[in-house]
Protein backbone atom coordinates (compact mmCIF):
# COMPACT_ATOMS: atom_id res chain seq x y z
CA UNK A 1 0.00 0.00 0.00
CA UNK A 2 1.35 3.38 -1.01
CA UNK A 3 0.27 6.83 -0.06
CA UNK A 4 1.91 9.29 -2.37
CA UNK A 5 5.43 8.00 -2.55
CA UNK A 6 5.53 6.50 0.90
CA UNK A 7 5.28 2.76 1.25
CA UNK A 8 3.11 2.01 4.27
CA UNK A 9 4.52 -0.84 6.33
CA UNK A 10 2.65 -4.14 6.19
CA UNK A 11 0.83 -4.23 9.49
CA UNK A 12 0.39 -0.47 9.90
CA UNK A 13 -3.36 -0.62 9.33
CA UNK A 14 -3.62 -2.17 12.77
CA UNK A 15 -2.97 1.35 14.10
CA UNK A 16 -6.02 2.56 12.21
CA UNK A 17 -8.06 -0.29 13.65
CA UNK A 18 -6.78 0.58 17.11
CA UNK A 19 -8.00 4.12 16.55
CA UNK A 20 -11.43 2.88 15.47
CA UNK A 21 -11.52 0.69 18.56
CA UNK A 22 -10.70 3.68 20.73
CA UNK A 23 -13.48 5.75 19.13
CA UNK A 24 -16.06 2.96 19.46
CA UNK A 25 -14.99 2.44 23.05
CA UNK A 26 -15.31 6.11 23.90
CA UNK A 27 -18.64 6.52 22.18
CA UNK A 28 -20.05 4.17 24.82
CA UNK A 29 -21.77 2.21 22.04
CA UNK A 30 -21.39 -1.05 23.86
CA UNK A 31 -20.42 -2.11 27.31
CA UNK A 32 -18.34 -4.98 25.92
CA UNK A 33 -15.81 -2.78 24.17
CA UNK A 34 -13.98 -0.42 26.51
CA UNK A 35 -11.65 2.11 24.86
CA UNK A 36 -8.30 0.70 23.75
CA UNK A 37 -6.38 3.16 25.93
CA UNK A 38 -8.18 1.81 28.97
CA UNK A 39 -7.46 -1.76 27.92
CA UNK A 40 -3.78 -1.01 27.49
CA UNK A 41 -3.63 0.68 30.87
CA UNK A 42 -5.28 -2.40 32.38
CA UNK A 43 -2.86 -4.59 30.45
CA UNK A 44 0.13 -3.19 32.30
CA UNK A 45 -1.53 -3.60 35.64
CA UNK A 46 -2.65 -7.15 34.83
CA UNK A 47 0.69 -8.42 33.51
CA UNK A 48 2.36 -8.31 36.90
CA UNK A 49 -0.42 -9.97 38.86
CA UNK A 50 0.14 -13.47 40.24
CA UNK A 51 -3.10 -14.67 38.64
CA UNK A 52 -1.82 -13.70 35.21
CA UNK A 53 1.66 -15.08 35.76
CA UNK A 54 0.26 -18.40 36.99
CA UNK A 55 -2.03 -18.61 34.00
CA UNK A 56 0.85 -17.78 31.68
CA UNK A 57 3.25 -20.30 33.18
CA UNK A 58 0.63 -23.06 33.26
CA UNK A 59 -0.29 -22.38 29.66
CA UNK A 60 3.33 -22.23 28.56
CA UNK A 61 4.05 -25.49 30.34
CA UNK A 62 1.15 -27.31 28.68
CA UNK A 63 1.93 -25.70 25.34
CA UNK A 64 5.63 -26.58 25.28
CA UNK A 65 5.12 -30.12 26.47
CA UNK A 66 2.30 -30.61 23.97
CA UNK A 67 4.39 -29.27 21.11
CA UNK A 68 7.39 -31.27 22.26
CA UNK A 69 5.47 -34.54 22.08
CA UNK A 70 3.91 -33.58 18.77
CA UNK A 71 7.35 -32.98 17.23
CA UNK A 72 9.13 -35.91 18.83
CA UNK A 73 6.41 -38.34 17.75
CA UNK A 74 5.23 -36.60 14.60
CA UNK A 75 8.50 -36.07 12.73
CA UNK A 76 9.77 -39.69 12.97
CA UNK A 77 6.33 -41.07 12.10
CA UNK A 78 6.15 -38.77 9.09
CA UNK A 79 9.62 -39.77 7.95
CA UNK A 80 8.73 -43.44 8.38
CA UNK A 81 5.62 -42.92 6.27
CA UNK A 82 7.65 -41.19 3.60
CA UNK A 83 10.20 -44.01 3.42
CA UNK A 84 8.02 -47.06 3.96
CA UNK A 85 5.14 -47.72 1.60
CA UNK A 86 3.30 -50.15 3.86
CA UNK A 87 3.41 -47.85 6.88
CA UNK A 88 2.30 -45.03 4.62
CA UNK A 89 -0.70 -46.87 3.27
CA UNK A 90 -1.74 -48.08 6.71
CA UNK A 91 -1.41 -44.72 8.46
CA UNK A 92 -2.17 -42.08 5.84
CA UNK A 93 -5.99 -42.43 5.86
CA UNK A 94 -6.08 -41.95 9.63
CA UNK A 95 -3.69 -39.04 9.62
CA UNK A 96 -5.85 -37.33 7.01
CA UNK A 97 -9.00 -38.01 9.01
CA UNK A 98 -7.59 -36.65 12.24
CA UNK A 99 -6.09 -33.67 10.46
CA UNK A 100 -9.55 -32.40 9.59
CA UNK A 101 -11.65 -34.06 12.32
CA UNK A 102 -13.29 -31.84 14.94
CA UNK A 103 -10.81 -32.70 17.67
CA UNK A 104 -12.75 -30.68 20.20
CA UNK A 105 -15.14 -33.62 20.36
CA UNK A 106 -12.32 -35.76 21.72
CA UNK A 107 -11.64 -33.45 24.67
CA UNK A 108 -14.47 -34.92 26.81
CA UNK A 109 -12.95 -38.37 26.24
CA UNK A 110 -9.57 -37.11 27.37
CA UNK A 111 -11.26 -35.60 30.40
CA UNK A 112 -12.75 -38.90 31.51
CA UNK A 113 -9.62 -40.86 30.66
CA UNK A 114 -6.94 -38.54 32.00
CA UNK A 115 -8.76 -36.36 34.49
CA UNK A 116 -9.61 -32.67 34.57
CA UNK A 117 -6.05 -31.49 34.74
CA UNK A 118 -2.85 -30.63 33.00
CA UNK A 119 -2.48 -34.07 31.42
CA UNK A 120 -5.63 -33.70 29.35
CA UNK A 121 -4.63 -30.21 28.21
CA UNK A 122 -1.20 -31.40 27.12
CA UNK A 123 -2.71 -34.26 25.14
CA UNK A 124 -5.22 -31.90 23.54
CA UNK A 125 -2.36 -29.65 22.47
CA UNK A 126 -0.44 -32.57 21.01
CA UNK A 127 -3.53 -33.82 19.18
CA UNK A 128 -4.06 -30.43 17.56
CA UNK A 129 -0.46 -30.13 16.41
CA UNK A 130 0.71 -33.59 15.48
CA UNK A 131 -1.19 -34.47 12.28
CA UNK A 132 0.06 -31.62 10.14
CA UNK A 133 3.59 -32.23 11.44
CA UNK A 134 3.35 -35.87 10.35
CA UNK A 135 1.96 -34.97 6.94
CA UNK A 136 4.61 -32.37 6.22
CA UNK A 137 7.49 -34.55 7.36
CA UNK A 138 6.12 -37.23 5.07
CA UNK A 139 5.86 -34.80 2.17
CA UNK A 140 9.39 -33.57 2.87
CA UNK A 141 10.83 -37.05 2.69
CA UNK A 142 8.79 -37.91 -0.41
CA UNK A 143 10.16 -35.00 -2.38
CA UNK A 144 13.82 -35.64 -1.61
CA UNK A 145 15.74 -35.44 -4.84
CA UNK A 146 16.26 -38.91 -6.29
CA UNK A 147 19.85 -37.91 -7.10
CA UNK A 148 20.69 -37.23 -3.45
CA UNK A 149 19.49 -40.71 -2.55
CA UNK A 150 21.54 -42.19 -5.42
CA UNK A 151 24.53 -40.11 -4.39
CA UNK A 152 24.36 -41.50 -0.87
CA UNK A 153 24.11 -45.03 -2.25
CA UNK A 154 26.95 -44.59 -4.70
CA UNK A 155 29.22 -43.49 -1.85
CA UNK A 156 28.07 -46.54 0.16
CA UNK A 157 26.45 -44.49 2.92
CA UNK A 158 25.21 -46.52 5.86
CA UNK A 159 21.45 -46.23 6.52
CA UNK A 160 22.34 -44.30 9.68
CA UNK A 161 24.49 -41.81 7.77
CA UNK A 162 21.98 -41.50 4.97
CA UNK A 163 19.25 -40.69 7.48
CA UNK A 164 21.11 -38.23 9.68
CA UNK A 165 23.34 -36.63 7.06
CA UNK A 166 20.92 -36.45 4.17
CA UNK A 167 17.23 -37.31 4.56
CA UNK A 168 16.50 -35.29 7.66
CA UNK A 169 18.27 -32.23 6.27
CA UNK A 170 16.78 -32.54 2.82
CA UNK A 171 13.31 -32.69 4.33
CA UNK A 172 14.02 -29.84 6.75
CA UNK A 173 12.11 -27.05 4.98
CA UNK A 174 8.92 -29.11 4.89
CA UNK A 175 9.44 -30.35 8.44
CA UNK A 176 9.85 -26.78 9.67
CA UNK A 177 6.78 -25.71 7.70
CA UNK A 178 4.80 -28.48 9.37
CA UNK A 179 6.08 -27.48 12.78
CA UNK A 180 5.10 -23.87 12.16
CA UNK A 181 1.53 -24.79 11.26
CA UNK A 182 1.49 -27.37 14.06
CA UNK A 183 2.55 -24.76 16.60
CA UNK A 184 -0.18 -22.36 15.48
CA UNK A 185 -2.67 -25.18 15.89
CA UNK A 186 -1.18 -26.05 19.27
CA UNK A 187 -1.82 -22.50 20.51
CA UNK A 188 -5.47 -22.95 19.59
CA UNK A 189 -5.49 -26.42 21.11
CA UNK A 190 -4.08 -25.32 24.42
CA UNK A 191 -6.66 -22.55 24.74
CA UNK A 192 -9.54 -24.81 23.68
CA UNK A 193 -8.36 -27.42 26.17
CA UNK A 194 -8.25 -24.82 28.93
CA UNK A 195 -11.66 -23.44 28.03
CA UNK A 196 -13.26 -26.87 28.17
CA UNK A 197 -11.39 -28.15 31.16
CA UNK A 198 -11.33 -24.63 32.56
CA UNK A 199 -9.80 -24.93 35.94
CA UNK A 200 -6.29 -23.95 34.93
CA UNK A 201 -4.46 -21.30 32.97
CA UNK A 202 -6.15 -18.70 30.84
CA UNK A 203 -9.36 -20.71 30.77
CA UNK A 204 -9.78 -20.05 34.49
CA UNK A 205 -8.73 -16.43 34.06
CA UNK A 206 -11.32 -15.84 31.34
CA UNK A 207 -14.04 -17.40 33.49
CA UNK A 208 -13.05 -15.14 36.34
CA UNK A 209 -13.02 -11.94 34.28
CA UNK A 210 -16.22 -12.66 32.39
CA UNK A 211 -18.19 -13.64 35.49
CA UNK A 212 -17.08 -10.38 37.13
CA UNK A 213 -17.67 -8.33 33.98
CA UNK A 214 -14.07 -7.11 33.93
CA UNK A 215 -14.09 -6.22 30.24
CA UNK A 216 -10.84 -4.29 30.36
CA UNK A 217 -9.06 -7.23 31.93
CA UNK A 218 -10.58 -9.62 29.46
CA UNK A 219 -9.44 -7.65 26.41
CA UNK A 220 -6.04 -7.02 27.94
CA UNK A 221 -5.39 -10.71 28.36
CA UNK A 222 -6.74 -11.38 24.86
CA UNK A 223 -4.34 -8.86 23.39
CA UNK A 224 -1.39 -10.37 25.20
CA UNK A 225 -2.41 -13.84 24.12
CA UNK A 226 -2.96 -12.87 20.48
CA UNK A 227 0.27 -10.94 20.37
CA UNK A 228 2.23 -13.89 21.73
CA UNK A 229 0.57 -16.30 19.30
CA UNK A 230 1.32 -13.97 16.43
CA UNK A 231 4.92 -13.51 17.53
CA UNK A 232 5.46 -17.26 17.74
CA UNK A 233 4.04 -17.82 14.28
CA UNK A 234 6.12 -15.00 12.78
CA UNK A 235 9.28 -16.29 14.46
CA UNK A 236 8.76 -19.72 12.95
CA UNK A 237 7.95 -18.23 9.57
CA UNK A 238 11.24 -16.35 9.78
CA UNK A 239 13.15 -19.55 10.58
CA UNK A 240 11.43 -21.25 7.68
CA UNK A 241 12.48 -18.51 5.29
CA UNK A 242 16.05 -18.95 6.46
CA UNK A 243 16.14 -22.39 4.88
CA UNK A 244 14.16 -21.44 1.79
CA UNK A 245 17.37 -21.31 -0.28
CA UNK A 246 17.23 -25.10 -0.14
CA UNK A 247 14.46 -25.22 -2.65
CA UNK A 248 16.60 -23.63 -5.33
CA UNK A 249 19.47 -26.08 -5.19
CA UNK A 250 17.87 -29.27 -3.98
Amino acid sequence: MKVGNIQLPGMSSLLLWGLIWEIVGRSGLTFFVPPLSEVIATLFSVIGTPAFLTALSETAYAFFLGVFFAIVIGVPVGILMGKNRLADELLLPWVNIFLSAPLTALVPVLMVLFGFGMKSIIITTTLFAIWIIILNARAGVKQINRSLVDMAKSFLATPWDAFFKIYIWAALPEILGGIRIGVIRAVKGVIIGQLLISIVGFGALFELYSSNFLMGHFWAVLIVLFAMAFAVSELLAYLERRVSYYAATR
Binding site: N145, S147, D150, K153, L156, T158, I166, Y245, T249
Partner: protein, 266 residues
Protein backbone atom coordinates in the same frame (compact mmCIF):
# COMPACT_ATOMS: atom_id res chain seq x y z
CA UNK B 1 39.59 -42.76 -41.44
CA UNK B 2 37.24 -43.27 -38.55
CA UNK B 3 36.80 -46.82 -37.54
CA UNK B 4 33.29 -48.13 -37.36
CA UNK B 5 32.74 -51.51 -35.89
CA UNK B 6 29.81 -53.55 -34.77
CA UNK B 7 29.39 -54.05 -31.05
CA UNK B 8 30.60 -57.57 -31.16
CA UNK B 9 33.22 -57.05 -33.81
CA UNK B 10 36.13 -57.56 -31.50
CA UNK B 11 36.56 -60.64 -29.40
CA UNK B 12 36.66 -59.79 -25.74
CA UNK B 13 40.27 -60.11 -24.81
CA UNK B 14 41.10 -60.39 -21.16
CA UNK B 15 40.65 -57.56 -18.97
CA UNK B 16 43.76 -55.57 -18.48
CA UNK B 17 42.49 -53.77 -21.48
CA UNK B 18 38.95 -53.12 -20.27
CA UNK B 19 38.09 -51.50 -16.97
CA UNK B 20 34.36 -52.16 -17.26
CA UNK B 21 32.55 -54.89 -19.15
CA UNK B 22 28.79 -55.39 -19.29
CA UNK B 23 27.47 -58.71 -20.47
CA UNK B 24 23.95 -59.41 -21.74
CA UNK B 25 22.31 -56.77 -19.58
CA UNK B 26 18.53 -56.82 -19.63
CA UNK B 27 16.37 -54.44 -17.64
CA UNK B 28 12.60 -54.63 -17.60
CA UNK B 29 10.17 -52.32 -15.89
CA UNK B 30 7.07 -54.46 -15.71
CA UNK B 31 6.35 -55.35 -19.32
CA UNK B 32 8.55 -52.57 -20.69
CA UNK B 33 12.01 -53.56 -21.85
CA UNK B 34 14.34 -50.70 -21.03
CA UNK B 35 17.48 -52.58 -22.02
CA UNK B 36 17.75 -55.76 -24.02
CA UNK B 37 20.76 -58.03 -24.08
CA UNK B 38 23.27 -55.25 -23.94
CA UNK B 39 26.98 -56.07 -23.98
CA UNK B 40 29.68 -53.42 -24.05
CA UNK B 41 33.34 -53.01 -23.18
CA UNK B 42 34.89 -49.87 -21.80
CA UNK B 43 38.65 -49.52 -22.47
CA UNK B 44 40.75 -48.61 -19.46
CA UNK B 45 41.98 -45.06 -19.23
CA UNK B 46 39.70 -43.86 -22.00
CA UNK B 47 36.44 -42.00 -22.27
CA UNK B 48 33.48 -43.89 -23.65
CA UNK B 49 30.27 -42.03 -24.45
CA UNK B 50 26.83 -43.56 -24.41
CA UNK B 51 24.96 -41.59 -27.04
CA UNK B 52 21.40 -41.90 -28.17
CA UNK B 53 17.97 -40.32 -28.40
CA UNK B 54 15.95 -39.94 -25.21
CA UNK B 55 14.40 -43.17 -24.02
CA UNK B 56 17.21 -45.35 -25.32
CA UNK B 57 18.19 -46.42 -21.82
CA UNK B 58 21.62 -44.81 -21.64
CA UNK B 59 21.13 -43.46 -18.11
CA UNK B 60 19.63 -46.79 -17.06
CA UNK B 61 22.77 -48.55 -18.27
CA UNK B 62 24.98 -46.06 -16.43
CA UNK B 63 23.05 -46.56 -13.20
CA UNK B 64 23.34 -50.31 -13.58
CA UNK B 65 27.11 -49.96 -13.94
CA UNK B 66 27.07 -47.70 -10.87
CA UNK B 67 25.20 -50.40 -8.98
CA UNK B 68 22.30 -48.03 -8.32
CA UNK B 69 19.96 -50.18 -10.37
CA UNK B 70 19.77 -53.94 -10.40
CA UNK B 71 19.70 -55.46 -13.91
CA UNK B 72 16.93 -57.95 -14.55
CA UNK B 73 19.57 -60.26 -15.96
CA UNK B 74 23.17 -60.02 -17.10
CA UNK B 75 26.31 -58.98 -15.30
CA UNK B 76 28.71 -56.07 -14.91
CA UNK B 77 32.42 -56.57 -14.39
CA UNK B 78 34.61 -53.80 -13.02
CA UNK B 79 38.35 -54.42 -12.93
CA UNK B 80 37.79 -58.13 -13.36
CA UNK B 81 35.24 -58.47 -10.57
CA UNK B 82 31.49 -58.84 -10.87
CA UNK B 83 29.74 -55.98 -9.12
CA UNK B 84 27.01 -56.30 -6.59
CA UNK B 85 25.78 -52.80 -5.84
CA UNK B 86 27.75 -49.56 -5.57
CA UNK B 87 31.44 -49.75 -4.78
CA UNK B 88 34.42 -47.54 -3.98
CA UNK B 89 35.92 -48.19 -7.41
CA UNK B 90 33.23 -46.10 -9.13
CA UNK B 91 32.15 -42.51 -8.59
CA UNK B 92 29.06 -40.88 -10.05
CA UNK B 93 28.61 -37.36 -11.39
CA UNK B 94 24.95 -36.37 -11.46
CA UNK B 95 23.07 -34.45 -14.09
CA UNK B 96 21.48 -32.25 -11.42
CA UNK B 97 24.72 -32.16 -9.40
CA UNK B 98 23.15 -33.76 -6.27
CA UNK B 99 24.83 -31.33 -3.90
CA UNK B 100 23.77 -30.94 -0.29
CA UNK B 101 22.25 -27.44 -0.17
CA UNK B 102 22.93 -27.14 3.56
CA UNK B 103 26.63 -27.93 3.26
CA UNK B 104 29.55 -25.75 2.17
CA UNK B 105 31.55 -26.49 -0.96
CA UNK B 106 34.25 -27.96 1.26
CA UNK B 107 31.89 -30.37 2.98
CA UNK B 108 30.21 -31.29 -0.29
CA UNK B 109 33.51 -32.15 -1.96
CA UNK B 110 34.67 -34.10 1.08
CA UNK B 111 31.30 -35.79 1.54
CA UNK B 112 32.26 -39.03 -0.20
CA UNK B 113 35.29 -39.33 2.06
CA UNK B 114 33.23 -38.34 5.09
CA UNK B 115 30.92 -41.27 4.40
CA UNK B 116 33.98 -43.52 4.26
CA UNK B 117 34.82 -42.44 7.78
CA UNK B 118 38.00 -40.53 6.95
CA UNK B 119 39.02 -38.04 9.67
CA UNK B 120 38.10 -34.44 9.04
CA UNK B 121 41.55 -32.90 8.62
CA UNK B 122 42.65 -35.63 6.25
CA UNK B 123 39.62 -35.50 4.01
CA UNK B 124 39.61 -31.72 3.90
CA UNK B 125 43.22 -31.70 2.76
CA UNK B 126 42.30 -34.00 -0.13
CA UNK B 127 39.16 -32.02 -0.91
CA UNK B 128 41.17 -28.80 -0.92
CA UNK B 129 43.38 -30.25 -3.67
CA UNK B 130 40.50 -31.10 -5.91
CA UNK B 131 38.70 -27.85 -5.21
CA UNK B 132 41.66 -26.01 -6.61
CA UNK B 133 42.05 -28.58 -9.40
CA UNK B 134 38.56 -27.75 -10.67
CA UNK B 135 39.24 -24.04 -10.25
CA UNK B 136 37.10 -23.27 -7.24
CA UNK B 137 39.79 -22.05 -4.84
CA UNK B 138 38.35 -19.36 -2.62
CA UNK B 139 34.85 -20.82 -2.71
CA UNK B 140 35.46 -23.45 -0.03
CA UNK B 141 33.02 -21.83 2.38
CA UNK B 142 30.37 -20.89 -0.15
CA UNK B 143 27.08 -22.74 -0.33
CA UNK B 144 25.67 -24.30 -3.48
CA UNK B 145 22.90 -21.71 -3.83
CA UNK B 146 25.55 -19.02 -4.05
CA UNK B 147 27.21 -20.69 -7.05
CA UNK B 148 26.31 -20.72 -10.73
CA UNK B 149 25.22 -23.94 -12.39
CA UNK B 150 28.65 -24.49 -13.90
CA UNK B 151 30.40 -24.00 -10.58
CA UNK B 152 27.99 -26.39 -8.91
CA UNK B 153 28.89 -29.08 -11.39
CA UNK B 154 32.58 -28.42 -10.71
CA UNK B 155 31.80 -29.17 -7.07
CA UNK B 156 30.12 -32.40 -8.14
CA UNK B 157 33.14 -33.27 -10.24
CA UNK B 158 35.58 -32.52 -7.43
CA UNK B 159 33.56 -34.72 -5.11
CA UNK B 160 33.73 -37.60 -7.57
CA UNK B 161 37.48 -37.11 -8.13
CA UNK B 162 38.33 -36.87 -4.44
CA UNK B 163 37.23 -40.42 -3.62
CA UNK B 164 39.87 -41.56 -6.11
CA UNK B 165 37.67 -44.09 -7.89
CA UNK B 166 39.18 -45.63 -10.99
CA UNK B 167 35.94 -45.37 -12.94
CA UNK B 168 34.06 -42.11 -13.29
CA UNK B 169 30.41 -42.34 -14.31
CA UNK B 170 29.00 -39.10 -15.69
CA UNK B 171 25.28 -38.76 -16.34
CA UNK B 172 24.78 -35.90 -18.80
CA UNK B 173 26.95 -33.79 -16.52
CA UNK B 174 26.95 -30.69 -18.69
CA UNK B 175 23.33 -30.63 -19.79
CA UNK B 176 22.23 -28.26 -17.03
CA UNK B 177 24.91 -25.61 -17.67
CA UNK B 178 24.97 -22.90 -20.27
CA UNK B 179 26.62 -23.32 -23.67
CA UNK B 180 29.86 -21.40 -23.02
CA UNK B 181 30.44 -23.12 -19.70
CA UNK B 182 29.78 -26.43 -21.36
CA UNK B 183 32.48 -25.82 -23.96
CA UNK B 184 34.95 -24.98 -21.23
CA UNK B 185 33.96 -28.13 -19.38
CA UNK B 186 34.46 -30.23 -22.46
CA UNK B 187 37.97 -28.89 -22.93
CA UNK B 188 38.76 -29.48 -19.27
CA UNK B 189 37.37 -32.99 -19.53
CA UNK B 190 39.83 -33.82 -22.33
CA UNK B 191 42.65 -32.70 -20.09
CA UNK B 192 41.29 -34.76 -17.25
CA UNK B 193 41.13 -37.93 -19.34
CA UNK B 194 44.71 -37.35 -20.41
CA UNK B 195 46.14 -36.60 -16.97
CA UNK B 196 44.15 -38.76 -14.60
CA UNK B 197 44.56 -42.45 -15.06
CA UNK B 198 40.84 -43.10 -14.93
CA UNK B 199 38.17 -44.68 -17.07
CA UNK B 200 35.31 -42.36 -17.96
CA UNK B 201 31.83 -43.40 -18.93
CA UNK B 202 29.89 -40.45 -20.19
CA UNK B 203 26.20 -40.24 -21.01
CA UNK B 204 25.12 -37.52 -23.41
CA UNK B 205 22.46 -36.74 -25.97
CA UNK B 206 24.63 -34.24 -27.82
CA UNK B 207 26.33 -35.67 -30.89
CA UNK B 208 28.89 -32.86 -31.07
CA UNK B 209 29.78 -33.27 -27.42
CA UNK B 210 30.23 -37.03 -27.79
CA UNK B 211 32.46 -36.71 -30.82
CA UNK B 212 34.47 -33.95 -29.20
CA UNK B 213 35.26 -35.65 -25.90
CA UNK B 214 35.16 -39.38 -26.62
CA UNK B 215 37.73 -42.02 -27.38
CA UNK B 216 34.87 -44.39 -28.11
CA UNK B 217 31.18 -43.74 -28.75
CA UNK B 218 28.53 -46.38 -28.22
CA UNK B 219 25.38 -45.44 -30.07
CA UNK B 220 22.26 -46.76 -28.39
CA UNK B 221 18.95 -47.06 -30.16
CA UNK B 222 15.56 -47.40 -28.52
CA UNK B 223 12.65 -49.86 -28.87
CA UNK B 224 14.12 -52.30 -28.07
CA UNK B 225 17.23 -50.67 -26.62
CA UNK B 226 20.41 -51.97 -28.12
CA UNK B 227 23.88 -50.90 -29.19
CA UNK B 228 23.70 -50.06 -32.84
CA UNK B 229 27.35 -49.26 -33.44
CA UNK B 230 30.63 -48.32 -31.86
CA UNK B 231 32.57 -45.40 -33.24
CA UNK B 232 36.15 -44.58 -32.29
CA UNK B 233 37.08 -40.99 -33.11
CA UNK B 234 40.42 -41.53 -31.41
CA UNK B 235 42.44 -40.15 -34.28
CA UNK B 236 41.04 -36.72 -33.48
CA UNK B 237 42.80 -36.61 -30.17
CA UNK B 238 46.24 -36.55 -31.65
CA UNK B 239 45.34 -33.17 -33.07
CA UNK B 240 45.31 -29.71 -31.56
CA UNK B 241 42.35 -29.41 -29.18
CA UNK B 242 41.43 -25.93 -30.36
CA UNK B 243 41.04 -27.11 -33.94
CA UNK B 244 38.93 -30.20 -33.42
CA UNK B 245 35.63 -28.52 -34.17
CA UNK B 246 36.92 -27.40 -37.58
CA UNK B 247 38.43 -30.73 -38.46
CA UNK B 248 36.75 -32.31 -41.50
CA UNK B 249 36.92 -35.68 -39.82
CA UNK B 250 35.07 -34.34 -36.78
CA UNK B 251 32.37 -32.97 -39.04
CA UNK B 252 32.17 -36.23 -40.96
CA UNK B 253 31.65 -38.26 -37.83
CA UNK B 254 29.00 -35.88 -36.53
CA UNK B 255 27.16 -36.11 -39.86
CA UNK B 256 27.48 -39.84 -39.98
CA UNK B 257 26.03 -40.26 -36.49
CA UNK B 258 23.18 -37.89 -37.24
CA UNK B 259 22.41 -39.86 -40.39
CA UNK B 260 22.02 -43.04 -38.38
CA UNK B 261 20.05 -41.41 -35.58
CA UNK B 262 17.67 -39.11 -37.43
CA UNK B 263 15.11 -41.77 -38.20
CA UNK B 264 14.71 -42.43 -34.47
CA UNK B 265 13.85 -38.87 -33.58
CA UNK B 266 10.13 -38.18 -33.42
Amino acid sequence: MSQTKSAFGQAASLDTEHAVITRNICKNYGAVEALKDLSLEFPRGQLTSLLGPSGCGKTTLLKIIAGLLEPTSGEVEVNGRLINGPGPNRAFVFQDFALLPWASVMRNVAFGLELRGMPKSEREAIAENYISAVGLSGFENSYPHELSGGMRQRVGLARALSVDAKVLLMDEPFSAVDEQTRRKFQEDLLGLVQNENKTFIFVTHSIEEAVYVSDQIAILLPRPSRVSEIIRPRALHGKDVSNIRRDPEYLDIVDQIWASLRSYVE
